[in-house]
């Protein structure tokens, strides 16, 4: 866990001026030749990835394929061994989660984001509270939280409820709302539908569709459940053994195709075991 920067310090990641402008396109985020090793284990091999403005990219892959490692690099949690990250045409060094966030890259983890003991609106404003010195301006936060949740179509009866009392889908929705309203331009969603029932997942899928319609935020969804993600993603990248082995618009692939690839991988692993055993 990186130590968060003390109050008032701005972004510690500065765009590197020496790299100069990179070929402009409509890519918000480009990842070029990223590699990462942990001791003898190679986690990522020469990853190239790009995310267009307003796009929803699904990053799929089996457990251990390197999804989490890539996510941690993109959100500033750990640096890559080599390669470049280009944000809005400028190479950036993401020195910490805070620094990445200051640059507009925000990550929403499955279940870590919220504080159970606090209300919905306090969670939404955590660390960015409305203050009428020296006190919190709860009335303003309540009103704005209400309005934002309504704007996003997240139906909540009360913003005064403790988040401990909400369902998994509602909690995830609040975490996403918080990231979006803290000026995230690139949103990384880590397994947003894991352990969620159909009804709950629908809340989140709707929310992501809505974001896509508005087009201000570009989203990378990390998941290993293909069916749900294909519903909302514009494009799919499949990660296998630390390499991106497939990059297709979601319209041109199917759950069947993705499953076949992964099943083939399992068969190969099984055969390798039998051969060595």
């Amino acid at each position: 866990m990186s130590t968060p920067a003390p109050d008032g310090t701005g972004p510690t990641a500065v765009p590197d001026p020496s790299s100069g402008p990179v070929a402009t396109s409509d890519d918000v985020l480009r990842v070029e030749h990223i590699s990462k090793r942990f001791g003898a284990v190679t986690a990522l091999v020469d990853i190239n990835l790009h995310l267009r403005q307003g796009e929803v990219l699904a990053l799929l892959g089996d457990n251990g394929a390197g999804k989490s490692t890539l996510l941690k690099i993109l959100c500033g949690f750990q640096p890559p061994d080599s390669g470049r990250i280009i944000l809005n045409g400028q190479e950036v060094t993401l020195k910490s989660v805070d620094a990445a966030r200051a640059l507009g890259i925000d990550v929403v983890y499955q279940d870590l984001a919220l504080i159970d003991e606090l209300t919905v609106y306090h969670n939404m404003f955590l660390k960015r509270e409305a203050v009428r010195w020296p006190l919190l301006n709860n009335r303003a936060m309540r009103r704005i939280a209400r309005q934002r949740l309504d704007d996003m179509g997240i139906g909540l009866k009360s913003v005064d409820a403790q988040v401990a009392r909400l369902s998994g889908g509602q909690r995830q929705a609040i975490a996403i709302a918080r990231a979006i309203y803290s000026d995230a331009k690139v949103l990384l969603l880590d397994e947003p539908l894991a352990a969620m029932g159909a009804k709950e997942a629908a809340i989140i899928l709707d929310l992501i569709k809505d974001l896509k319609r508005k087009g201000d935020v570009s989203v990378i969804v990390i998941a290993h459940n293909y069916g749900q993600v294909l519903e909302i993603a514009d494009r799919v990248n499949l990660l296998q053994h630390g390499e991106i082995t497939l990059d297709k618009p979601s319209a041109e692939t199917s759950v069947q195709e993705l499953n076949d690839i992964v099943i083939a991988e399992y068969r190969a692993a099984l055969q390798a075991r039998q051969r060595s055993g």
Partner: protein
């Protein structure tokens, strides 16, 4: 200190809470009980659970009721009823409750953010000696000496924070160590003899304990101010966030070390202040004041008043009422002439009942069925 275990518990609950059948019950739209809920005992049982939940949420009110009942009993029905509501006796109660309540303020902030301080009773013991040394041996003006003694408490809090947060030692152990060291410093420098309050400090002392009602005045002011800090400022909100979900809080950009250091320093300040007050009120600097006792009563009061030892919730008002309840019990037993010997039994029982209520009702609430 117990974040790992708590995180696992939470995840366990989440696991249960997010499968399809449970999510319906968890949604707040179904307040008052989902119609389709599998029957778990009918409306009566449901009412009992609602009442239990209400009790959990109105913990301060519950303790207040107990305080009032105790006052009514000791003041009107007990054998000591003629002595209870005298100003002498009320002053006695305030002198008992003030040190516990003021220390409890600091402990509430620490407990809420997931730490605790065992050393505060020894900060309490050392601060009047430091004032005495500064005035009598170094010629420091009394007011400045008082301020420096208070600052000593803050500095010890900083050291506690440094060892706990920066060096990564559990606060239980950290403050166990620093407490012994402070006790040792006090004993070595004073040769374990009581000292006389410097004559020049009596003027300042008027505001710090010699005037009968000065201690309770400080107590009430501090309780009100720090309750507001806890529930209405960013500091309080972040303290709750750190204790509720350490990782989530730091993910949100909250500086966990800053919050923990700060709360150790608040507690150290409260300990030093309490030490000076006891000294001026009893008119002597006594080495036997340094002990774990006030800290234990402070934590007992905080827990009875609804503070969770594992962090994330608690109120200063609740802790004040909890310590007040203990002080009234203490005083009432004395008046009636029962020895103080059974008091620990009641104290222990009260702590256990309060904690069992905390844990069980929190479980009930998470299950989301009573609401």
């Amino acid at each position: 200190m117990t974040t790992g275990r708590r995180a696992r518990e939470r995840n366990g609950n989440e696991g249960q809470g997010t499968n399809v059948s449970d999510t319906v019950q968890q949604a707040p739209e179904v307040a008052g009980g989902p119609p389709g809920e599998p029957s778990s005992g009918g409306p009566v049982w449901h009412g009992v659970k609602r009442a239990a939940l209400l009790f959990a949420e109105q913990r301060e009110a519950t303790v207040l009721v107990v305080v009032i009942l105790l006052c009514v009993y000791f003041g009107l029905f007990s054998s000591a009823s003629s002595d209870f509501f005298t100003s002498d006796n009320i002053a006695n109660i305030t002198w008992t409750v003030a040190p516990w309540a003021i220390i409890a303020i600091g402990e509430v902030f620490l407990l809420v953010c997931g730490e605790l301080d065992l050393s505060v009773g020894f900060i309490l013991g050392f601060s009047p000696y430091l004032m005495h040394y500064l005035i009598d041996f170094y010629g420091v003006p009394p007011l400045l000496a008082v301020l420096l003694s208070l600052l000593m408490g803050v500095a010890v809090g900083f050291v506690n924070g440094f060892i706990t947060v920066t060096l990564g030692v559990a606060s239980f152990i950290t403050t166990l160590g620093t407490g012994f060291i402070l006790l040792g410093i006090m004993l070595v420098t004073s040769h374990a003899y009581p000292a006389v309050i410097p004559a020049s400090a009596t003027g300042v002392g008027h505001y710090f304990g010699s005037w009968t009602w000065s201690e309770i005045t400080w107590t009430i002011i501090l309780v009100v101010v720090f309750q507001i800090v806890l529930s209405r400022t960013r500091w309080g909100l972040h303290t709750v966030a750190v204790g509720g979900n350490l990782l989530g809080a730091s993910e949100a950009g909250i500086s966990v070390p800053k919050i923990k250091y700060g709360n150790f320093m608040i507690t150290g300040f409260m300990g030093a202040l309490t030490g000076l007050m006891i000294t001026f009120q009893t008119n002597s600097i006594d080495p036997s004041n340094a002990s774990y006792t006030p800290m234990f009563y402070a934590i007992a009061g905080a827990v009875i008043g609804g503070t969770a030892l594992a962090g994330g919730s608690g109120t200063v008002i609740g802790a004040f009422l909890g310590t007040l309840m203990l002080a009234i019990l203490f005083d009432g037993f004395n008046l009636i002439g029962i020895s103080a010997n059974p008091l620990p039994i009641i104290l222990g029982g009260a702590i256990l009942v309060a904690m069992i209520a905390n844990v069980q009702l929190a479980r009930l609430r998470r299950a989301g069925r009573a609401r």
